[in-house]
């Protein structure tokens, strides 16, 4: 009880076209901390400063941008054992990956979502802390630990693909997530986007309808305040990073947000805020008559690119 089962999005593996350019973007500019690299496998492992686990972002050089996999951390090994048959009962094939295959990680379960995305679950990952220690830790890391866009944590992903109702059903019925918000077609009532949470956040993962499976809409990082969103926007502007949608507030989730692209065209978001969600919070439904306010509530303008550009 309390917070159990799937805890959070713990690891996202993003394909990038050029590892050096990705390092400049994610580490030098955004300020993620590079904790490990693998020259042979062409991978960089990063974390945000206030995460305790060894890494949360893996950048892998490849010929095509996009998403390799999303991995969620669960409460304990027993949770993996309990979830495996439930996932299979839902109709998905589950592969077992031994501890150590993914560096610093315990064993994993792997399966493909109805939307075509590779998803993993794991219970163990090496912890390296947030530099403050655990005894009389204080509140402020040394200068330079928080830098760049001042990112606190990996927060959530938005995944594009077909069968998003099925994804919603999987996360609700098997993983016990709540459907916090949903966007539907005004006439057909078909689902266009599903927002799902396993915490008090407005969402831990979301799905948006896309004709092709396995598409990557964005990965999102948590900032401490709306003021830090403004600061990140200033940095994005300084480095001439391509912006998809400038500072605004989402109707869905209420978060303060800015969207931009990494050098490979993968969309990133930094955001702050959003309401507090509990399992007894009513699901919010938006329809296509209000796509502007649903997407960006400070100017009520729906961005076409926001729905169509994915990697």
């Amino acid at each position: 009880m309390a917070l159990r089962g799937i805890l959070r999005l713990g690891e996202v593996c993003i394909r990038v076209l050029d590892l050096a350019a990705a390092r400049t973007h994610y580490v030098d500019r955004m300020g993620l901390i590079e904790v490990m690299s693998d020259e042979e496998d062409r991978k960089i492992y990063c974390k945000a400063w206030d995460e305790h686990d060894h890494h949360s972002i893996v950048l892998r050089e490849a010929d095509e941008a996009g998403l390799d996999y999303v991995a969620f951390k669960v409460y304990d090994d027993q949770t993996l054992t309990d979830l495996e048959p439930r996932i299979q009962a839902f109709g998905l094939d589950v592969s077992r990956i031994d501890a150590g295959v993914y560096p610093k990680s315990g064993r994993r379960l792997e399966f493909f979502l109805p939307s075509g995305h590779r998803m993993q679950l794991y219970a163990e990952k090496a912890q390296i802390g947030n530099t403050l220690g655990t005894r009389n830790p204080g509140v402020m890391p040394d200068e330079g630990v928080i830098r760049g866009f001042r990112i606190n944590r990996l927060d959530h992903c938005l995944l594009g693909g077909p069968n998003i109702d099925e994804c919603g059903r999987l996360f609700q019925e098997v993983f016990d997530f709540d459907l916090s918000e949903r966007i539907e077609d005004e006439e057909s009532r078909d689902s266009l986007a599903m927002f799902l949470t396993c915490s008090t956040k407005p969402h831990d993962v979301a799905f948006v309808i896309q004709p092709e499976p396995g598409r990557f809409h964005h990965v999102s990082f948590l900032l401490e305040s709306a003021t830090d969103v403004i600061h990140a926007a200033d940095m994005i502007g300084k480095y001439r990073i391509p912006v998809d949608v400038g500072p605004n507030r989402h109707g869905v989730t209420r978060g303060n947000t800015i969207y931009y692209f990494d050098p490979s065209g993968n969309r990133n978001e930094v955001f702050s805020g959003g309401y507090v969600h509990y399992p007894d919070t009513p699901t919010l439904t938006w329809d296509t008559s209000q796509m502007g306010p649903a997407q960006f509530s400070q100017d009520n303008i729906a961005r076409e690119s926001f729905l169509t550009v994915v990697t």
Copy 2:
């Protein structure tokens, strides 16, 4: 799984010496919304704007200030059924209170904590929403809904009494809370304060050692930002509300905070921020050699009154 069992602190009943003065304080000045009053029982029921349940604060006129009870909302009625024998197995007597005895509320379990506090659990309460509705809700309530101190939600309580280790054990073993932080005597290692969470918040309830049982240290309300803490401080100053500790940041929880007293001497807090806690986040331990930084990290000054003044 996900967020289950005890969800949150859902209702606090505070004794006040004068109901009219309490209304001025909590409603007119702080900006809580009065949803119901009971002239005969001398009670006022209030909520914060972004809570969906009917009320979260009950003010009861009495001859002595302090805390009547704290009530936590649980996931569903089955949770009550499951928890009852576990609480009894811990050694506490559990009373059953029928639905409707507490207005707008389903049935409740009631028991006394080892610290002497009356605690209740309930699964149902009437919901009246946050004025935005659930279809194309938008993000901004009408002007006037958010006012006063701009309080979003009831957040947590700090309770003073003996046997706080036992309280910690109850919340961890029976209610599946995590011990997020703990303050101990530098020499004896005795617990001086315990901070416990059932969510991603740094704490949902906390206990501080006090010789007398059942004492009320403070009730705390969530603001949206540190900027809103400053705004609340400006309002507190404007109304000459007695301040216990001015704007500062807690070492414990990292929250931005200000403490003040209601007209009956009950301590209130409004705060924002704090880190994100998960069950795999290490417990942080502070000791009496660092009471200044643990309490108030922007000036590292431990306030004597902060430990000794309770109702």
Copy 3:
């Protein structure tokens, strides 16, 4: 010496197509305080809460949107006497308007800028204060005084027309303003925009090249913080007010900004911040190779509408 001569933009008279709609926009939604109205002349007089003078915005119902005049307050009556021959020596005809012709106002000088705008100077206007009084005033007005977009003050205007170099020369040579920033054509070096200040603000008035004389680009209001810009943006979104450019930061002046339109199509801005300018601060020059960063530095996107839409 110190701050003398022209002090500030003190009054802007805006033509609106419908007075009731304008009241809804400027008073009900933006939160300006209506201090007086003239049903016969179809005028509303408003002020921002922290201005001491009787009014700073005059809304006049007319068949065409746009700007009637801008009026600057000068240090004292002697300043008017001193400036009159200097303005004439610059080559402009100066009309004298008696005290009382403009309500609550002392005598005025009036002339037309080379850009075609009607400009006035006055030294006296009735003061009604900011509600705090002048003895032990405190810092927070009563709740409801600051509302809507939380506007502190009228700040500046951007005027569109020809001959902006001549306008710059007038303000620098006759009115002793500084040229804080300038935008020029990358090749011809022709001036496209001139930003002029008589204070420590980055600009008190600005001119942008436009083929037609006397055009109104926008009137701008000062907010206390970037957080309040976000709040205003939320309100703008709530009321579905048409947004020209969403929350962003200007390259020129560094201010946090959002642009929107009143119901008559007149552009408004609310903003905060910007650097501190002194007469010894170097003039900053931007050219058309950097129009994106000059206009909106958080996404480096120049908005076509921002240059072409005027009233």
Copy 4:
């Protein structure tokens, strides 16, 4: 006209007991930029990032903490020529200091204020800019330029001594400052503090009554926002810098503030905000019945140390 005469407090020379400790405090921790040092004279020259002049703070190692002098920058050399006889006519002896005696500085006038403080005026100082350049400058300096407490500028000084009415008269009559605020004894109406401005800031210099002449109450630095005051407070806490008064808001000036001490016991302030002052803004008067709200408006508590501890 416009902003002329004395422009601003441009240079403060502070005596410190240990230059290395002072460097740690002002440069390493506060984040001022060390632009020059003089090992022989035991001096360090610093500036804040957004100042264009070569330096604004001089730290001089000496046997006693306190203030060597304050120096104000004036509009031009002619201003010096004009002011010299006016200062003499007020009754003060004026010394002429040749260009170059103070490094990077043109000629200076020096005299002693009625409060016992050494004051200088100069019109020229070498400019080194704020790193952004003056052509297409952008708004964000490179990472690392803004660091530590994120100080934008030197802002003002509060000086302690006798004859503060005379100081007020000097600044008003000779230097054309405005008296923005004043604290007086409730009964005798004697002046206890005088706040004077030559800009749109609430004060550029202030005087507080002290029995001994030439005492230094504090030097104050401008931050961009109240959020940055919170950040500075976090840094102050982290480095265990002794705090005089924690984060609060001043009644006088309305600024968000925190006060702390350098290693030699000199008081520093970082602040943000405050209202906009113009010559026609009424003088605000506080009296000793309201010393709490005048000093610190968020808890209305007058601090004894704040009035008595000076260097």
